[in-house]
């Protein structure tokens, strides 16, 4: 864990209530998520890293409460205090050659960095992204630029397959040796249930410290209690009790 200062170089609306935040500062950042101090709020906001390079971080977040609303109103040049090096992320090495990435809504964001890493390792990457409606769609073009196959589902059928991500997966008739998923719990549960190959899921929980010492975000797993912020947020399918 490290505490650093980053300045906002971009903070723009890219879909309904959804913002792309680009931060500059520090060196190469480790970890799965960052914990951002929003002035005026007691606790930090844990947000997944969508993409990174040395000195630059991209985050895609949704306004879900007062804290993220305040963050969305911050102008370019504002300096934020950020904890980095947090969380255990996806394991690209767990996939041998063909990966399926399944994102629901904003769950697409952390899968992007994973997709880049998998492609850098020469693996085949199929991505399925699910959204409620067309105006919530994010990241599809970015994934199309780097992945082998990208499919989209929307609940209202306005774009791609009408229905859930599971409907899109069922219609693809391909085999994968490993899957990675991030999104609403009901979706991840359905994905873990329908796919026979091993895989992992990124969970979300209300966090306190974000660094594994307050034990606010613990979940029960087959291996006993685990902290979502420190032992996760990514857990193997077979560890999860749901």
């Amino acid at each position: 864990m490290k505490k650093d200062r980053f300045s906002i170089v971009r903070n723009r609306l890219i879909a309904t209530k959804t913002y792309q935040l680009v931060l500059e500062g520090g060196g190469m950042v480790d970890g799965e998520f960052v914990h951002i101090a929003v002035p005026g709020f007691f606790l930090r906001r844990p947000l997944s890293i969508c993409d990174k390079e040395a000195g630059r971080l991209t985050i895609v977040y949704k306004v879900v409460g007062e804290g993220t609303r305040a963050l969305s109103e911050m102008k370019e040049g504002t300096v934020l205090e950020v904890l980095t090096g947090l969380g255990r992320g996806f394991d690209p090495d767990a996939c041998r050659c063909e990966a399926l990435l399944v994102g629901g809504g904003l769950g697409a964001a952390p899968l992007y960095l994973l997709a880049r890493e998998l492609k850098a390792q020469g693996k085949k990457v199929t991505v399925v992204l699910g959204f409620n409606t067309a105006d919530e769609i994010v990241m599809v073009r970015e994934f199309e630029d780097i992945c082998d196959t990208v499919a989209v589902s929307t609940l209202d059928g306005s774009v791609g397959v009408k229905g859930f991500v599971t409907d899109a997966i069922a219609g693809m008739a391909r085999s994968y040796d490993y899957f990675y998923t991030c999104g609403p719990v009901v979706m991840m549960k359905a994905v873990c249930g329908m796919l026979e190959c091993p895989g992992e899921a990124s969970l979300e929980e209300r966090m306190g410290c974000g660094a594994g010492f307050c034990y606010g975000c613990s979940i029960e797993t087959k291996n006993g209690p685990r902290r979502v912020c420190k032992d996760g947020p990514v857990f193997k399918k077979e560890e999860l009790l749901w």
Binding site: M1, K3, A37, F41, F42, L43, R44, G67, L83, E205, R206, M207, G208, C209, A211, G212, F213, C214, Y215, G216, C217, S218, I219, E220, P225, K230
Partner: protein
Amino acid sequence: MVKDLTVDLCGIRLQNPVIPASGTFGFGLELSGAFDLNLLGGISLKGTTREARYGNPTPRIAECDGGMINSVGLQNPGIDVLVNEKVPALRRAYDGCIVANISGFSLDEYKECCAKADACEGIDIIEVNISCPNVHNGGMAFGTSAASAAEVTAAVKSVCRKPVFIKLSPNVTDIVSIARACEDAGADGLTLVNTFLGMRIDIARRKPVIANKMGGFSGRAIFPIALRMVYQVAHSCRIPVMGCGGVATARDVIEMMMAGATAVQVGAENIRNPYACPEITADLPSVMEELGINTLKEIIGTV
């Protein structure tokens, strides 16, 4: 001039008065990669019970203006893991004062756990939590009457040679009478205050934010109330007090000490800033300089 930050807690010399409060610093080693733990005057470990506990269902954290509510509910690996694994591991990385925080659901459980902590070489002080708001039929029930607080104190003292601090609840009508009862029953010191019972409602979902409905409120917002209680207790008892509640800055530490605290615990502030304790300690000398203080322990209880 070099500032003297040391304090003496029941014969134990602390290099500075700043101690992360129980439950806000895990078992210490979780933070060993973040900064040098030896910058801390002491560390109060996460509350420990006889058996391992998962705690309460999530969500068990809720944000508030100036603080937070937690209902973690004493998640811990049990006293045997504490004394056999957690403390020896922390001892290898940390030379300062280790405070074991013990909770229980019966007098027997308090006695058994405290005896094990007393026998554990790495532990310097035993802090007995009779004030956890997050567990039913235990914890706070003992801390809300003078008679039961005294009963726990006497029971624990009968099995301990090390200094015993009783951690008091602020959710009482008269904290001074409970503090005095603990002192009369043999307590070596007092820690106050634990969290205030609080609640938040998610007005969109029309449900409590916390799965357990209520939890303990802590953070900057409680500082004036905690300070008042530390002042009242320190001026009514002869045993040392560890002041706790809403401390976030070096100035707060000095204020708590002027109110009567010999050492000062930092709680919820660690959750928002894991570096809070070393930052506060680093700020102390310049604030002392500004206030004309050379020896920190000389200000204890001077107001």
